[in-house]
Symmetry: C2
Subunit: 127 residues, 2 copies
């Protein structure tokens, strides 16, 4: 078993991801994180670390915290019966479709940028 028992404090994570501790606590209050406690203090595991990474990646793609929370819950091994598993697979598929749509949008945007760069360069020539 490879058990990584690294532990992060809240300011550790804040520094590593360049966010504020307020943000991290907010994510917890929204049900996206659930760190251990040592008394009052929060202790974050490698799992929390990757969850945070997932959240921020989602943000860069315009996903809401609610959507990221769904993803996170989906990744949590809390299911047991076939119906539950089936639902997870459907959610996975939905996420994939959304990502695919975003891929298309990016492609179109890139093409438009290419076109426009050409136009600008041509206009520069005539000067």
């Amino acid at each position: 078993m490879t058990k990584n028992d690294t532990i992060y404090t809240i300011s550790d994570l804040a520094q590593r991801f360049d966010i504020t501790t307020r943000t991290i606590r907010f994510y917890e209050s929204e049900g996206l994180l659930s760190p251990e406690r040592a008394g009052q203090k929060r202790l974050y595991s490698p799992r929390d670390y990757t969850t945070l990474k997932l959240i921020l990646r989602g943000k860069r793609l315009g996903w809401s915290l609610a959507e990221s929370r769904e993803l996170i819950q989906m990744y949590n091994p809390a299911q047991n019966n076939q119906a539950q598993y089936q639902k997870v697979l459907e959610r996975v598929q939905e996420s994939r479709e959304r990502l695919q749509h975003q891929l298309n949008d990016i492609e179109v945007m890139m093409l438009e940028l290419d076109e426009h760069e050409d136009q600008v360069r041509q206009a520069m020539q005539k000067t």
Copy 2:
């Protein structure tokens, strides 16, 4: 010259893009659109149409209206000197880099979804 003189009303556009007229007026108030007028009434050109398409594409990628506005202004042929042109080219490059970053994020997300689907399918077998 191929001059397309189609004209859209505000509710035309609202229907076609499945948004509200309020949204369209809001975008105008934020400087993203500037339709012609016939008295009080707004008249939208094919150019406005594509601008709206750009805005909504941006939204699906998590771009703010301010960012889309920059893109739109960039696409507007209002520059004349070399320095201005150069700035536009820099902006184009920045946009491309952001899109490239988003592409990477999507790829990672897709891989994670693939992995998780495998895990779920394996768990289903054991039932």
